[in-house]
Amino acid sequence: MYTYDRKGPKRGVALYSYSAEFGLTKTLEDCFEDVHDMGAHGIEILANTHIENYPYPSDQWVENWFRLCDKYEIVPVEYGHWIDSHAVRGRELTTEESVEMLCRDLRLAHRLGFTVMRTKMPVINEKLEPVTNWREIIKGALPLAEKLGIQMCPEIHTPSNLKGEMVSEYVKFIEETGTKNFGLNIDFSVFRTVFGEGEWKDPAFTPNVPEDIIPLLPYVYCCHAKFINMSDDFEETTIPYPEIIRILQEHGWNGYLLSEYEGADKYDDGYEVGQTLRKQHIMMKNLIGD
């Protein structure tokens, strides 16, 4: 199996970025090859999207998965999945049912060689607070996560703030349980300082400065290298990338920065998200020096 031994921040791509093209004009292999072209070695998949016959792929599919990883020098980094506790209308799944769903994903992530999971919590309000039994759900899966060597990480995404209550609750949980199998995925949208004229901005959002990530770094197993606008001279104009990457390097953080392009324009006819990703990878390659 392919391994990539570089230390520090490393480049990867979240295949979510290809949402508008996957299954229509791009296969899984096309996405792998595009990532390989960029010289990136990490990948994030969405289990419910990219795994054929999810949650029960055939052995043949899994065999092909590892063939693609070897051929394109790709490390399975992050397995995106959802705890779908609200999948049935009219009732919330019991803690046991949610744990069972989570454990099924842990086993599948492990089968595909992943070590981090982007664990999306079900939410209960417009502040995107997780279900009240999230601690019990995670605790129910911790023994299996520990056995399989997987870190479950909720994503911290705008309008959440790194110094906000949600993050401090997650950190408290990590400290109280002492677990190494639950952490955070920081989405760089929290650092966004520039908004276009007339562009909608969540009134609840206050940007973090890059330094705010420092106390969280021991719990950060992965980052979403969110980008909004890449200029034609390969600069991100809304998020302070040079400072963020410098801080990650100076503090010896070791992990993957997974590019995630969320812009709705990727659904426009003729839009080529691969080219947008390449712009960002030119910037990240230059900043990281890989």
């Binding site: 419910n48 999207t49 959802w82 779908d84 609200h86 209960i124 309000n125 995107l128």
Partner: protein, 146 residues
């Protein structure tokens, strides 16, 4: 797989034991991730303006049929965006040869969206704010029966 939600391939009458009992067409999931069947909210089908209730439509995924009632509680069977769903419509005699205007609405819930947004979902109407990665609820297509 075509970009349109209603696919051109798969549109035909259903013949059982020599009798035409209805017709079928295929849809793709216009969402960036797959869903469990219980997340689906089927709406109303209009064929040439004629209204067909959701109870008269059976969903069929990878050869397995699911009634509306079965889908409501089924949070284990998963529909991946790369698989097409076959919708089998009860209509004795099927559809006549020639063009037909299909208009069909369906949507799906998401556990990571605030419950008040979920409560407002209507398969036969678009959401207040259109988000391309969730697709449109109501889709139309004009297709031929041979």
């Amino acid at each position: 797989m075509e970009k349109q939600v209603i696919q051109s391939v798969g549109f035909r009458n259903i013949c059982e034991n020599g009798t035409v009992t209805g017709f079928q067409f295929k849809i793709r999931l216009p969402y960036y991730r797959g869903v469990f069947l219980s997340q689906l909210m089927p709406g109303t089908l209009f064929v040439d303006g004629e209204r067909i209730e959701k109870e008269d439509i059976t969903w069929c995924l990878k050869g397995e049929d699911y009634t509306l009632e079965e889908m409501k509680e089924d949070f284990k069977t998963h529909w991946t965006p790369t698989d097409l769903m076959v919708l089998k419509v009860k209509k004795p005699g099927g559809l006549a040869q020639g063009y037909h205007d299909l208009k069909y609405g369906f949507c799906f819930t998401s556990s990571y969206m605030p419950p008040f947004l979920q409560a407002a979902l209507d398969p036969d109407k678009e959401s207040f704010v259109f988000m391309p990665e969730f697709g449109k609820h109501v889709n139309e297509r004009r297709l031929l029966i041979v």
